[in-house]
Symmetry: C2
Subunit: 358 residues, 2 copies
């Protein structure tokens, strides 16, 4: 049974779910598949655990418990402070996993793949940096990133397989945000916009500052990743993005913003009611073509695929040369720590299988 | 650029589309991906073309033209008669592709994978033979079979990835037949059953004997493949299958059967009308659980996911431990030579990438 060395940066909700799934995979399928993942490094924003061969499962379990209790990896007996995760890269190729949401690490990630490491991203930001960075990271299939769009749903792998087999993308559209799916579905249930945002925030379905979701930029990043994977050269600044709050609320603190939210209630109530009068509803929709990228609030027929979405469901619809008359579509919950981690693990398994016979 | 040796048996609609897609892949992506597929053998039911290194593209193009014109591979100047495709297997491992619909080749395929060859199936029958055959073929991931369910839709890869990452299947359901999807949708449009079958047959969407589709056995095989992949041990005889024609029509010739079809029109008209009275419609639906496998005509709400299918669309809905509240689903056309071939090619690429570093 071969050992596949793994360095994971990020130990939040997704990172912890991933460590649990990896331990489970090693125990249950490793023997049958002929490989097990061996953590040589695990880092959060403050600390890290490092091992020459592998961090023992018992230490990983202790790290999970420490973090769950509000600590950091620096607090685990085997852990230590972290200056720079780049120092944790092994000389021989490893799987480098980024489950953070950090920006500005693009250059370090590019350097790592150019040294021969393989990269798995749950972090969208490196792929939404400059087009050139995207191209360098993804050339030669040395980066996989299933979890960046639709979490565990087979969104990127489906697109990859269409392209590999010679199909070409005419249009990709759908709803790529579980948070905004929940909000628009709540409007449909008669819930006030401000109450829906508050509810989503309390469930942990928004970022700590809900404007990070309501601005649409997160959806814009996902649309950009799908476009670039399709071979369309766009920058993030090329995406037309509709924000769900006005510029007047940009400079407020989070608490002030939450207090001010009810000023938007009438606007969204009126918008929804006039849509409902024509058997339509509101959804936050993304459109990707070779010439145009836009994301925003759209009025859609209530019995359309997008209109029929419930709660945090995502939908990705591929209109291609082969699937021209009837599109191919993938649907399901597109957020959550467990399913996001499963998207990452599935990429790790694909890399490991390619490495097996080295 | 590495050569991946390929032996393909079957040169009908899917087989020809596959050869075209492989030639296109080699030319367009081979350099970038670091490998090209090299046909060492290509066989239809009467003849074969064989090469030590690779069959040149020009010969493959000629074979396509000959077959299109109604000939066989025995008629191509480079071709010859075929006694047994097993004689075409190379001593070193190759990708063995079965695009036929033949039964009874299970033992030969098992022998091939045990010799180290890798198998890609568009042919459902070997995987719907005994459970033991399925287990031996698929152990160690030496057989891939995306095209057997839903043609080019990511049905098997999605299931595989759910299982690999530690999810477990509670229930899979949906519509797995483009032909029966078309028929039931036609009933909904007010078309007579007999006219709908005749129309589908003329479009080439049924088998030459439409009873092969109407019996439900083809759907039963797909349900069985999904069940077995999920880890549920069933035999084909365990599937409860509802046929769309009565036993009295079993022994007729195809021409007689087509003549007799109108005797069923009233039955299906009445059935549909009583469903429509309650905002329901008819669909040929499959259900897979750990304890039960059944396929048959069901009355479903017209605004349900299954009820909203149009024409030859397939739908596969995965209810799993992780996707328990909102299921994951894949939808799109599940038949056609081009999309079926693309499912096969996608499996071939996955195998090739795993082989690259050998």
């Amino acid at each position: 049974v071969r050992r596949i060395p793994v360095l994971q940066i990020g130990f939040g909700g997704v990172g912890r779910a991933l460590v649990e799934q990896v331990l489970h995979f090693n125990e249950r399928l490793g023997g049958q598949y002929g490989f097990r993942f061996a953590y040589t490094g695990l880092a959060d924003s403050q600390g890290a655990i490092v091992a020459d061969e592998r961090i023992p499962p018992a230490v990983l379990l202790q790290a999970l418990a420490t973090k769950q209790a509000g600590g950091s990896l620096v607090d685990v007996p085997e852990g230590g402070p972290l200056n720079d995760w780049r120092n944790l890269l092994t000389p021989s190729p490893c799987l480098l996993i980024d489950t953070t949401a950090q920006s500005g690490v693009e250059d370090a990630l590019v350097a790592a793949v150019e040294q021969g490491h393989r990269l798995v991203l749950a972090n969208k930001k490196p792929l939404a940096a400059s087009y050139d960075t995207f191209r360098v990271l993804t050339t030669g299939a040395r980066t996989r990133y299933e979890a960046t769009v639709g979490a565990g749903l087979p969104v990127i792998s489906t697109l990859r397989s269409l392209l590999d087999t010679g199909d070409s993308i005419q249009r990709i559209e759908g709803c790529f945000s579980g948070t905004l799916g929940f909000l628009t579905h709540q409007l449909e249930q008669g819930v006030l916009f401000s109450d829906a945002v508050r509810d989503a925030r309390q469930r942990g379905w928004t970022e700590p500052d809900p404007r990070d979701d309501l601005s649409g930029v997160d959806v814009a990043r996902k649309a950009l990743i799908l476009a670039r994977t399709s071979g369309f050269q766009f920058e993030l600044s090329d995406v037309t993005v509709e924000s769900l709050y006005p510029p007047t609320l940009v400079d407020l603190s989070v608490a002030q913003f939450m207090d001010q939210l009810p000023v938007l209630d009438d606007h969204y109530r009126t918008h929804y009611v006039s849509a409902a009068d024509q058997a339509q509803t509101l959804r936050y929709v993304a459109h990707v073509t070779a010439t145009n990228l836009n994301v925003g609030l759209a009025t859609v027929a209530i019995d359309s695929p997008v209109g029929s979405l419930r709660g945090p469901d995502n939908l990705v619809v591929y209109h291609t040369e082969r699937y021209a008359h009837c599109p191919l579509s993938v649907r399901g919950p597109g957020a959550g720590t467990e399913v996001t981690a499963s998207g990452v693990l599935s990429d790790m398994i694909a890399f490991a299988r390619e490495w097996l016979s080295r």
